[in-house]
Assembly symmetry: C2
Homo-oligomer: 137 residues x 2
């Protein structure tokens, strides 16, 4: 099943990405796949923000249709499906990390650990590379 | 007039930002302020993506309420209002540039000039710093 693609309105460099992941729920699903290493539907459903089951299902289908996420059988239990970021999805890590850094800087009540801000400011590239390597293994 | 703030659902480091700018229209308005240096409402309205006037007005109010954009009198014509990014808004440049880079990399029909991809890959920090300095002056 392929989620319907949005009509292409321009060749704007940002629009291509925004049409795929430019809504808050999609970005939160990506957050959980990247930072929380969630893999099952039920884990993704159990976020603090209370995503609805039909929205989660829709967003995962869209991410799959655009090749950012793949659905595979759980190696530990063949009856279960798990979701994994593809290379194309992993390429979004810098976008997510920059949003987290902006929020940590400007949110007086941020839940971001101080260690994140420090590690990021000390060596952004190494911080991103660490996350990416973890996701690939 | 202050746009109503979204209810805070978690202290998640990303949510703070996403509640403010995590929708496509807001990100497109930010794009036009950053990359196209648009300043007037009528310029922002005239984008390829055809943003509706009420949506543009709503998003600008929200960005202003959260301190990312300020409304000032046009120095060239006191009857006109112009919109400018604040420091907090300018801090979003890395997020926008990373979205543009992801899109340029993965969109076979990208409108991103090759010079952007090259300049970005050669020296990301210098590329961002150039944009930021331009916005501050």
């Amino acid at each position: 099943m392929i989620a319907k693609k949005a009509r292409r309105r321009s060749n704007c460099p940002l629009c291509f990405g925004l049409d795929i992941f430019g809504d808050k729920w999609t970005l939160l699903v990506l957050r959980d796949l990247v930072f929380q290493r969630k893999r099952h539907f039920r884990e993704l459903l159990a976020s603090d923000e209370g995503i609805a089951s039909n929205i989660l299902s829709d967003r995962l289908k869209r991410l799959e249709a655009h090749g950012l996420v793949s659905r595979i059988g759980d190696p530990d239990d063949a009856r279960q499906i798990v979701y994994r970021l593809t290379e194309k999805g992993i390429d979004l890590v810098p976008v997510l990390v920059e949003i987290a850094y902006w929020s940590a800087k400007h949110d007086p009540h941020t839940g971001a650990p101080k260690s994140f801000v420090k590690a990021f400011e000390r060596n952004r590239q190494a911080y991103i590379q660490d996350i990416v390597s973890n996701l690939k293994h």
